[in-house]
């Protein structure tokens, strides 16, 4: 152990590359006289200007291109743009399509969440520098996580053809209805995976987490009956209750002079998105078996301990398995897996719950169904301000007397906890480093 350092020293920490996050970013902060003075989360991701590429594209092409913003949550990008256009075109809802959309979403959640819990987060709490060294000590746990991740990929493949940039969805529904025998195979896999998923939650809930109580506003999609994913309205635990098209009146993006990226504010305040926010708002909408497991394991929501985000993620994995199983067990082949759409001019707004939290799209289309203006706001940019605030208070509470190394490690943990997806580069810039 390091001898305690002087908490009043000037600390300059620069974590050059954040590891075990999606994409690449870095953190830089300076403390003087026991106070954090400056703290930047930097995103390396160079701008890729997707919103611009979308201009002039036919609405049919949008899901394909939008997916490329992020290989980690392409379904969220595809689905949000698809639903934005469908609402504009007035496409009626269809129970089969709705159910299958939940399943493909669960696939993405499961894939992304298990990857995070298993390979990114667990090494932090079990004291390993990375997943590879953890795997040597915990081979069975790592394999179980990989099996569940594989199951997420299988769900994605069933409806989308492949796990990264799936090709199965279109405006109006799906290109293909999976044949019965493929669904039956999937049901078998889900049945087997149930127990894995329960153990996975128990394991995740039992990791030795620090306590990091934070003040924050949770924001998520809420649906009257279901755990909100692709349908519903935006709610917060501070009284927000609005439809998706009201997003622009409450949420605002801004760029700050000293910072590297766009930040988002909701009614002038920072807010928090992601699995924990969803659990905080929608726990009572979870299917019975999922709520029961949480109770059995003593998991309680709402919670303001940031590290419960990992547990929330694990519980959503179980949700994904249970609910997909329920949906696919009653599978019926539809006459057609999509509805016809007729493009029309106007503006379509939509939000869905990406693995990392709510994502917002807005498309302006002309009469031919071509995009004239696009906005896509990923969850990580919305969480950005929250992460920095979290770091600031958590760091002071953790104690600046810790060595630089320990501080650095702690910061990384805090950041990773959000599973920030830095690939969602629509609004991230890379700027010069400002050093003292």
């Amino acid at each position: 152990m390091n001898p305690a350092a002087d908490p009043n020293r000037t600390i300059d920490i620069h974590v050059p590359v954040l590891t075990r996050v999606e994409g690449e970013g870095s953190l830089e902060f300076t403390a003087r006289n026991g106070k954090v003075e400056k703290l930047y989360l930097r995103i390396y991701e160079p701008p890729r200007l997707f919103e611009k590429f979308l201009e002039g594209q036919d609405y049919t092409e949008v899901p394909t291109i939008a997916a490329r913003v992020c290989g980690v949550c392409p379904i969220a990008y595809q689905m949000t743009s698809i639903r934005a256009m469908e609402t504009l075109f007035g496409v009626p809802s269809d129970p089969w399509i709705h159910a299958m959309r939940r399943v493909i979403y669960y696939g993405e959640w499961l894939q992304s969440h298990t990857l995070h819990v298993n390979l990114f987060a667990a090494p932090d709490f079990l004291g390993f520098p990375d997943a590879i060294s953890m795997a040597a000590k915990y081979p069975e746990e790592v394999r179980r996580g990989m099996r569940l991740q594989g199951l997420g990929n299988d769900l994605l493949r069933l409806l989308g053809g492949r796990s990264v940039h799936p090709i199965g969805m279109k405006v109006g529904g799906f290109h293909r209805a999976p044949p019965r025998h493929e669904v039956a195979d999937m049901v078998d896999k889900l049945l087997i995976a149930r127990e894995d998923a329960r153990q996975f939650v128990a394991w995740a809930a039992g990791l030795p987490y620090p306590v990091d109580e934070q003040e924050f506003i949770s924001v998520a999609i809420q649906h009257p009956q279901e755990y909100g994913i692709t349908e519903g309205r935006l709610v917060s635990d501070h009284g927000l209750r609005v439809s998706f098209e009201d997003y622009p009146t409450h949420f605002r993006e801004y760029q700050v002079a000293h910072s590297t990226a766009y930040y988002s504010l909701m009614d002038g305040r920072s807010y928090f998105l992601g699995p924990l926010a969803r659990m905080n708002l929608n726990f009572d909408r979870l299917p019975q078996p999922v709520q029961a497991l949480a109770q059995e394991l003593g998991i309680r929501f709402p919670s303001h301990n940031m590290f419960m985000n990992v547990v929330a993620r694990a519980l959503e994995c179980y949700l994904a398995v249970e609910d997909s199983l329920r949906i696919l067990s009653d599978y019926q082949l539809p006459a057609r897996p999509f509805l016809d759409v007729t493009p029309r001019a106007g503006i379509g707004h939509y939000c869905t719950e990406a693995p990392r939290g709510m994502i917002y799209h807005r498309f302006e289309l002309d009469d031919a169904g071509r995009v004239s203006f696009a906005t896509m706001i990923p969850p990580t940019s919305q969480n950005q301000l929250r992460i920095e605030q979290n770091l600031q208070t958590a760091m002071e509470r953790f104690g600046l007397e810790h060595s630089d190394d320990e501080l650095r490690q702690f910061c990384e943990q805090v950041i990773r906890n959000y599973d920030p997806c830095l690939s969602c580069s629509t609004h991230f810039l890379r700027l010069e480093v400002h050093r003292d």
Binding site: T19, Q149, G168, H175, Q255, S423
Partner: protein
């Protein structure tokens, strides 16, 4: 095998999807890690510096900043074999669309304070900057492509690279051609094989994510798309998609966007 080969996966401007394809190998990944040392892959927390000597460096993403160029040169100098993975690294990716646009103008319209952005005006393929030993096309590459490449290299043999058209695999799978039965603007006849004819197997038209095949006849095919009812601009956009900067496709884009005469 005397020494365990070292492999690294580096990321430039990309969506991380190709790396994810690697992580998505599932239990094969565990098998693979017994055969090789993964010394650099920020996503999973392995972080050897760029100047560590490796046997195989996989590169994801395109080159968009001067800093990228420095990093890439360092990686190249220290890798016995350098392989690009995915459309971004191999052809510049979807973001290469800005190469033809006034990117200053684009930046201004997307970002309030573009003066902070340090960015080359283009999104360039890795081969535009350094020598590339092999290219794995696809957006994203599949896990299979990656481990087949690694497996073959472990045998001391360059990976095989098939460049036939998607149609061939589509027919092997027994799919009905949706271009012929539904007038769907499927790009299979100009797109390189590798995906297993995924889209047409789902009844969806191919959109070129594996890049141009060998010996493509884009002029004739573009005319055919016009015959199916597409406007020449739509034809140009079919080519100017995921691999818009691949020469065969950027030429086709110019041809149908009618810019041939202007330049």
């Amino acid at each position: 095998m005397e020494h365990k080969p070292k492999i690294a996966i580096h990321k430039f401007a990309s969506c991380s999807g190709c790396q994810l394809a690697f992580v998505n190998m599932g239990e094969d990944l565990i098998e693979l890690l017994q055969l090789v040392d993964l010394v650099h892959m920020a996503e999973v927390g392995s972080m050897a510096p760029e100047d560590q000597q490796v046997d195989i460096a996989f590169i994801e993403g395109s080159i968009t900043t001067p800093h990228d160029v420095d990093r890439l040169l360092k990686i190249r100098a220290n890798s016995a074999c350098l392989i690009t993975i995915g459309a971004c690294a191999t052809s510049g990716g979807i973001q290469a669309l800005r190469n033809n646009a006034d990117s200053g103008e684009w930046m201004r319209s997307v970002y309030a304070k573009p003066e902070f952005i340090q960015s080359l005006s283009t999104s360039a393929a890795i081969a535009n900057h350094v020598k590339v030993d092999f290219e794995l096309w696809g957006c994203p590459v599949s896990s299979r492509q990656m481990f087949t490449a690694i497996r073959t290299l472990l045998y001391g043999v360059p990976p095989l690279s098939l460049r036939e058209k998607v149609c061939q695999e589509c027919k092997r799978r027994g799919n009905v051609c949706i271009l012929v039965t539904q007038d769907a603007p499927c790009m299979g006849p100009v797109t390189r094989t590798g995906c297993g004819a995924l889209c047409p197997s789902f009844g969806a038209p191919c959109y070129t994510c594996y890049g141009p095949a060998e010996g493509v006849n884009t002029a004739s095919f573009g005319q055919r798309l016009i015959g199916l009812g597409l406007h020449p601009d739509q034809v140009a956009r079919r080519f100017a998609s995921i691999n818009n900067a691949a020469p065969a496709f950027s030429e086709a884009t110019r041809l149908f966007a009618g810019e041939e005469g202007k330049s």
